[in-house]
């Protein structure tokens, strides 16, 4: 495959939600597609946000266009990505320290954007969401929901594949191949073995998030990006069952989202140099801000175990000198570099939000189709993603089966249940069975434990891998070399620790000591691991 010239209609760069959605849309319109990702899916901003299915209300006042896009996409995703979305609904609360007059403006702007916003009695709000700060003086109910970005990305990738797209993970674009004034393909490096090769395409779509600026640079094109770091904290269980937002202009740590079995508070927003985007760490100051502000939304966060801290970088397109990026539009930016820079065969899709990925994909696919003379229209708004065809009925299943169906929707049919060797749980916190591991390893582009975690939640529970990581490593990749598997295990434990370290006090510190006692004292995994693979994709 290395020397053979491969031709595609479209190469999509970036395995985040935008890239995956674009690959799906292109494939559904009959284009021959290659999706390339330098590491794993959802390693960038896609996997490092709130998991919030915005209603758009947050942007109604400051960014009405984005708000309208959000609510439209919100309603679409509820239908096409049912197994990735939990219809929690949301509240915008006003605290005594906030200006209650803002509420009226807020509701009016929401209504204008098409977002159903209903002012409710704070007493009712407290009944609907008992975790909410009891001091609230105002509450508005809006159609927020929670969404699992890992699942959503995977579902888009799977559907792209079902429509004929090819997918390469751990393949990094190291060069854009330019002939005269046209991008004709990309040079790829296999990040596992270092081999490079070229692939050719009529159109190259840059969907690399914040790293898109570096891709554009390869073609000598400048995109003025604004890398805005956002930090978040994950709590050990669900404190709230509705999304809780502050009813004021967007600020730090003013959204609390219930995600799967946890809840997430965020975010902060600070501009960071592009070089730092690969090495995000949450600082003690950020932890302090997140906790202090988070407790204003739900006071019980102050007495809830924190599991980990993480940070992502928003791919905002810079427009002014706002130091935080809060006032930059979340609007979608589609760049036709032929028109903009005189460079044909190259387009960039950026800005936007995870929330509006489908629309972003549609817009850039429209552009590609137009260039390629394809007339087929976009079907992604109405065609359910794989796994979301019908609503699951949980009742009849075992714990693991319920958990697995929650993660894979109808694709859970591919997970073997009901025989003893597949039903055994490797991860008891998250109910991950041997069968689910086997399914993920064979069908979902799993190369290591961290990939597996993104597909199944293995090691994402309370203990962050204390026993399950070793069990899972023993089960997965039987054909793999043991040495590679032990290196992988050591890398995984290090990755888990990176999220725990900024919040290492209380039960978390006790957990860390127990885990170290098992992995280092009892097992000696650190003595066996020969390689310390600490590249970004392991993080």
């Amino acid at each position: 495959m290395n020397t053979q010239r491969k031709n595609y209609d479209v190469v999509v760069i970036g395995g985040g939600i935008t890239g995956a959605g674009t690959a799906r849309d292109c494939a559904m319109r009959g284009l021959k597609v290659l999706l390339v990702e330098r590491y794993d899916f959802s390693t960038g901003a896609t996997g490092r946000n709130h998991g919030l299915l915005h209603s758009g209300a947050r942007y109604a006042v400051t960014d009405p266009d984005s708000a309208t896009e959000c609510i439209q996409e919100n309603m679409i995703l509820r239908k096409i990505a049912r197994h990735c979305v939990e219809e929690t609904e949301g509240l915008f609360i006003t605290l005594p320290e906030d200006d209650l007059n803002y509420q009226a403006t807020f509701v009016q702007k929401c209504t204008e954007a098409g977002i159903r916003a209903e002012i409710i009695d704070p007493k009712l709000a407290k009944i609907m969401e008992p975790a909410v700060n009891p001091e609230i003086i105002g509450a508005v109910k809006i159609p927020d929901a929670s969404v699992d970005p890992f699942r959503l990305t995977m579902a888009n990738v799977l559907d792209a594949q079902l429509h004929g797209a090819e997918v390469l993970v751990y393949h990094e674009v190291v060069e854009l191949i330019i002939e005269q004034t046209r991008v004709v393909g990309v040079k790829l490096r296999n990040n596992h073995n270092g081999e490079t090769f070229n692939v050719y395409a009529s159109i190259t779509i840059n969907a690399a998030g914040i790293w898109g600026t570096l891709i554009a640079q390869m073609a000598g094109v400048k995109i003025n990006m604004f890398p805005a770091k956002g930090s978040l904290l994950i709590f050990g269980h669900r404190v709230n069952n509705m999304v809780i937002n502050r009813c004021r202009k967007p600020a730090n740590a003013d959204i609390l989202v219930p995600d799967d079995a946890v809840c997430v508070i965020g975010t902060t927003s600070d501009r960071v140099p592009i070089e730092e985007c690969d090495y995000m760490r949450v600082t003690p100051e950020e932890v302090e801000v997140l906790l202090t502000e988070g407790m204003k939304l739900a006071p019980s966060l102050g007495t809830t175990r924190i599991l980990r801290a993480y940070a992502g970088v928003r791919p905002l397109v810079a427009s002014d000198d706002d130091p935080t990026g809060r006032s930059i539009s979340r609007g979608i930016v589609t760049l036709d570099h032929e028109k903009r820079d005189g460079l044909a065969g190259f387009a960039t899709i950026t800005g936007g939000k995870m929330m509006t990925y489908r629309l972003m994909a549609e817009q850039v696919t429209d552009l590609a189709c137009q260039k390629l003379g394809v007339t087929k229209t976009c079907q992604t708004a109405t065609t359910p993603l794989p796994g979301s065809e019908k609503k699951p009925e949980l009742k009849k299943y075992s714990f693991a089966q319920k958990a697995s169906e929650g993660r894979h929707g109808t694709l859970d049919a591919n997970v073997k249940h009901g025989d003893v060797s597949n039903d055994a749980l490797v991860c008891e916190c998250e109910g991950v069975s041997v069968g689910e591991v086997r399914y993920a390893v064979t069908k979902l582009h799993v190369h290591n434990l961290i990939n597996l975690r993104r597909r199944t939640r293995v090691g994402m529970g309370t203990c962050q891998g204390e026993l399950c990581a070793c069990r899972t490593a023993g089960v997965m990749g039987e054909e793999d070399g043991a040495q590679r598997a032990i290196n992988d295990l050591a890398g995984f434990m290090n990755e888990r620790w990176k999220g725990m370290q900024p919040v290492a006090w209380g039960d978390n510190l006790a957990e860390a000591q127990l885990t170290a006692t098992i992995y280092q004292g009892l097992l000696g995994v650190d003595k066996l691991a020969k390689e310390r693979r600490l590249e970004y994709y392991e993080i």
């Binding site: 269980h237 669900r238 932890v287 007495t303 809830t304 714990f399 529970g461 204390e466 026993l467 006090w505």
Partner: protein, 417 residues
């Protein structure tokens, strides 16, 4: 602000203190005998996290939990695993209790129905055809023999024979006798009165006593348990107001009223809790303080093996009883290894649980046979049935042993001063 609130870092949700170390699994008597039970960790803290997400994650197999609380005693991180499991059953279970369960659960109702007819009921409950019906129709295991119903209830005896003399004492206690002493084994109550009178305490009963409700909770009748609990608390408040502590002879009743009322039923018992004590603990504390003395018969000899009943273990009160028993001069005292006997109240009476129940107790039965005691001492009445049925060794409440060994006259004299 964060600095202040995260200072304790103790979650109000106790389940998340769980470090997932799996120690509870080692000490769960159920998970080793049936693969159908998910085990304490999964049924408790792991499951709870997911039940908070979606109640559909509740599993009816949680009813297999004995509520022995051995997981809680073993947990190094103070996670109330048993409470989490029982609370989940109360909150999420959609199964209605069967007639059999209602019968077993309503120990006082059954007792008050059966006692007047004890001469007829007792032999009847032992008849093979009756047992067959109970087994086949009702689901009460045929191996079980219902404890005899007494011909005369303890309360009746007390009012007739003991009550008139009680006011002559300077100091007073109130006795919560429980269903077992009342309907099945009044001798236990009589032993209690004998010892308390000997050390100079008058004994009184509660204005109104209801079954503590432990069997109701176990059989999915939490609401009824709560109503009965409220009645008990109200009566106890009156006794306590008179300065009478409330004493018990049953470890399970004590544990239920002190801890389960608050943890599972939401009964506010904070003003009563500390005044409820097991009689052995009460006596032991008075002896420590030098307020009372016990004199024992010199000729009393027995090999006594002490069995730590699950709820006794959970309360952490075993040393009170064992230190008291060890004061009897010529006994041969052996501590049995602490493990569950398998009966767990009404659990072992159900035919679907019988084999499991016996398998759980096997370790204890073996241990008793090896030790070969004259009697086993324990504060739990259902342990008594189980151990007697399974080993043939008689089982006595420690207070009955004290009563038997006591030199009443000498004790009275010692405590008159």
């Amino acid at each position: 602000m964060a600095t202040e609130t995260q200072t304790k870092n103790v979650s109000v949700n106790n389940f998340e203190q769980c470090l997932k170390c799996s120690i509870c699994t080692v000490y769960c008597p159920v998970s080793a005998v049936t693969p159908l039970y998910p085990g304490p960790k999964q049924a408790g803290p792991d499951g709870e996290r997911y039940r908070l997400k979606d109640k559909e994650f509740f599993n009816e197999a949680l009813k297999m939990c004995l509520n022995c609380k051995r997981c809680e005693v073993a947990c190094p991180n103070d996670v109330h695993i048993g409470d989490i499991i029982q609370a989940a059953r109360i909150k999420y279970s959609t199964q209605k209790p069967k007639l059999r369960d209602m019968m077993l659960a309503n120990t006082d109702f059954m007792g008050s129905m059966a006692s007047p007819f004890a001469p007829i009921v007792n032999p009847m409950l032992k008849l093979k055809p009756v047992k067959g019906i109970l087994h086949g129709v009702m689901g009460i295991d045929k191996h079980r023999t219902f404890p005899n119903y007494a011909h005369q209830k303890f309360e009746t005896w007390f009012k007739k024979e003991a009550a008139p003399q009680q006011d002559q004492y300077r100091k007073h206690v109130t006795y919560f006798h429980g269903c077992y002493a009342n309907y099945n084994y009044p001798q236990l109550g009589k032993d209690f009165v004998k010892v308390m009178n000997a050390v100079g305490y008058g004994v009184h009963l509660l204005e109104k006593e209801k079954c503590c409700g432990v069997a109701l909770i176990a059989n999915g009748l939490a609401e009824q348990a709560k109503r009965q609990g409220e009645v008990n608390m109200a009566s106890m408040r009156k006794a306590i107001a008179k300065g009478h502590p409330v004493l018990t002879t049953s470890s399970t009743c004590t544990f239920t009223m002190r801890d389960e009322y608050d943890h599972l039923l939401g009964i506010d018992n904070h003003d009563v809790r500390d005044s409820i004590s097991l009689v052995t603990r009460f006596l032991q504390q008075l002896i420590e303080k030098g307020e009372i003395k016990l004199a024992f018969r010199a000729d009393y000899r027995k090999r006594i093996a002490y069995h730590s009943a699950c709820h006794m273990e959970r309360m952490g009160w075993v040393p009170y009883s064992t230190r008291l028993l060890r004061m009897i001069p010529n006994i041969d005292f052996v501590m049995l290894e602490s493990q569950c006997c398998g009966i767990s109240g009404t659990y072992g009476f159900k035919k679907e649980n019988y084999e499991r129940s016996q398998a759980i107790g096997e370790g204890l039965f073996q241990n008793i046979k090896e030790v070969h005691p004259d009697c086993v001492a324990t504060e739990c009445e259902t342990c008594k049935w189980q151990i007697e049925m399974s080993t043939g060794v008689p089982v006595m409440n420690p207070i009955s042993i004290i009563a038997e060994a006591l030199d009443v006259e000498e004790t009275r004299k010692l405590n008159e001063k």
